[in-house]
Structures are given as C-alpha cells and as structure tokens.
Symmetry: C2
Subunit: 187 residues, 2 copies
DNA sequence: TAGTCCATGTAAGATGTTACATGATTCA
DNA sequence: TGAATCATGTAACATCTTACATGGACTA
C-alpha cells in the first residue's frame, strides 16, 4: 500500500490558519511572508496546489467571493472532517523521531493547541515533549564526550550548538508548563 | 531554464562525509543512523539515488571492492569537481533566507569548514551568521510585542521558544568566535 | 535451517521549487 | 500609460518517503 496517510507540515499549517478564520490562498501567502511563520514557503506553487488537495480530501471547502471591486477571491473554511483530522494530528503522541527530525512540526502542533485541542492537551504535550528531550540530550552529550578529540573544531562546535539548542528547548518546556499553572515537580 | 543549479542538503552531507574519507552507501547510512547527523534520512531510497546523481554529475567516483568475504561494496570518493563544488557551497554568503528557513543547512556548512575551507573561513562565517541573527531577532521580538495580546497562549509560547532558540544560536556564535582566537569587540 | 546483519538497489507516489502566465485594479 | 499590487493558477523538474526486492554471510 503506497498511499500516504498524512498531510505535510504545510498542509497542517494551512488547516490551522483556516480554522482560526476563513482565508484565501493569498491571505495565507501574506501570512507566511509577514509573520514568524515565514519558515513556510509563501510560493503560489506550494500554496494553491496544497489547498486544492485539501479540498479534494474534503478537509476544506472553498467558495468564490466577488468582493469589493478586486479580483474574485476563493475563501476556504474547514469542514468537520478537516477539524477532526487536524485534532488527530495535533494530539498524536510525541515521538522521538519528531524530536530528532521534525522539531518544527512539533512546535507547529503546539502553537495551535490552546485553540483547537481540548483543555489539558497543551500540558500533556509539554510533559511528553520534556520527557523525550530529557531522554535524547544525554545521547548527544555522550557522543560529544567520546568523539570530541577526533572531531574537527567546527564539527565539535556545530554539535555543541545543537546540544545547546535542545537544552534551550528543554528549559522552555519547563517554563511553559509553569505557565499552565502546574509546576508538577520534576527533578 | 528549469534546471536546478544546486544539490540538496543531503547531497552536500554526503559530499562532506565522503571527502573526510572514502565511504560506501552503507557506511553513510550507518553514519546517519548512529551519530548526531541522525537528522538526515538513512533510507536507502534517499541515499543510493543521491549517490548515483552525484556520480552522474561528476562530483564523486565509485568503484567496487570485492572485500573480505562480504558482499561487494561500492566505495565513493570525491573528484576534483566534487571538492570545488563543496567549497563553493560552503563559502557562499550567509543569507537571511538561510537563517530563517535553513538553519540546519547553515550549520552543516559550518560543521565541515575547518576541514575543507581555507583558513579564516570559519571565522568569517561566524561573523556573517552573527550579523544576520542579530538583525533578525528584533523582528521576532517586535512581532511578539505587537501581537502578544491577540495570540493564544500556546501560540505565544511557541513564538517565545523560537526567539529563545535564535538567541541561543546568537550566543553560540559569540563563544565560537572566541574559540577561533579573536574576540573582535562587537557591541 | 531460520533469523539477522551486511549491502545495494528499484518503483510508485506525493510534495515542493522555480519559473511562467494571466488579468484586474490602483496609483503616480 | 506604465508600474505595482491584488489574486489565482499551471508546468517542468528534482527530491524525498515508503515499501518492496535480492542475495550473501554469519550465528544460534
């Protein structure tokens, strides 16, 4: 069975933004080019085909608006299936693989969590994220310790940069958990 | 003209590792699955076709080794063109776009710099990287300040996480520059 | 002899990049 | 009238993911 069972990060970003409010392709492009979500491509060649696919899969529904003078716009809104699919994605378990290879997707999931997942989801997510980070970082440290002498200076520095980034993320999960009102003593 | 003029991040990772020493596809897969370069796919469906393309472009050269009992291995080494292409990529200017969308590629470039670029390249790179980071972070802060009240809590936290990550990276560039023996007073 | 590791590869499919195309409207 | 912005789209192309395929060698 060679049928992908999940949408891309871009697709979920689109779903989240459309869920916030109905938007056109152009709105979404502008959002990507003018906010910290600039890490997503605002290319029409990425956005419009992605929207078409989402519509074909019944996750969004578009309709024309012959608005105030300007060219016709196609405004999209989420369907019930779209909302269900987004929630399913958002509340998936936090896997090691995500921490190691798709941290950006993990943060995307979290970014919309207060809005669209049930109460408590954000805190559960943060705990799971914290756990995975805390389990992964020692592997990096161990590698550094064993190999530091054989690594070129810039290689070692690059690894140290990665470790520091993960540690920053770890600290962030702790302060974020506190924000949700539960320190929940971790050691 | 719709011909891509550059290789993928994976392709450059392969070139860098092969430059360090001649390796087979299997060696490269194992390296990706067992070191902090785990952020690259160790899938044969990614590695072997990438190696074939590199060979077709004349950047690597493979030859069979009927080694000690095991199945034949195909060992690759870099050609002169491969080394030139890698260096060109490595010493490109640090662009805003890289900082915002391809930080991982930027760090990959740096990771091999002491080995394969001329002396001074690493420090130049760090300075340029520092400059771009220092210019970009205030944009994120500004956005946060203007929008914090209208953002859902998890959205705001996600943005704060991103800012902290960039700031960690910024601090790292400073300590890394010191490692290269020049504090070079920046204010 | 059955399972695991070594080792290389291909096929189908989806997605993303870059570039091109179109046309209306606003503004200088 | 020409340029910029609004707004949507397509075409060609390269790459990656997932899954499948093959076969030798070691080992329990």
């Amino acid at each position: 069975m060679i049928t992908s069972n999940s949408n891309s990060a871009l697709a979920f970003a689109l779903l989240g933004l459309i869920w916030q409010k109905a938007r056109s392709g152009y709105d979404l492009r502008k959002f990507f080019s003018s906010t910290p979500m600039v890490s997503f491509s605002d290319s029409p060649g990425a956005i419009y085909p992605a929207l078409r696919r989402l519509e074909q899969r019944g996750l969004v529904l578009g309709h024309m608006v012959e608005g105030s003078g300007l060219r016709r716009r196609r405004i999209f809104e989420l369907t019930a299936r779209g909302r269900a699919e987004f929630r399913r994605w958002q509340t998936q378990p936090v896997m090691r693989h995500d921490v190691v290879r798709n941290m950006d997707v993990l943060m995307l999931r979290f970014a919309f969590m207060d809005q669209f997942a049930e109460k408590g989801a954000s805190l559960r997510f943060l705990k799971a994220f914290h756990k995975e980070l805390a389990a992964y970082i020692p592997n990096l440290r161990k590698y550094l310790k064993s190999n530091r002498e054989y690594m070129p200076q810039s290689g070692r520095l690059a690894l140290e940069s990665g470790i520091q980034t993960y540690e920053t993320q770890l600290r962030w999960t702790k302060t974020a958990m506190r924000t949700y009102g539960q320190s929940k003593g971790e050691g």
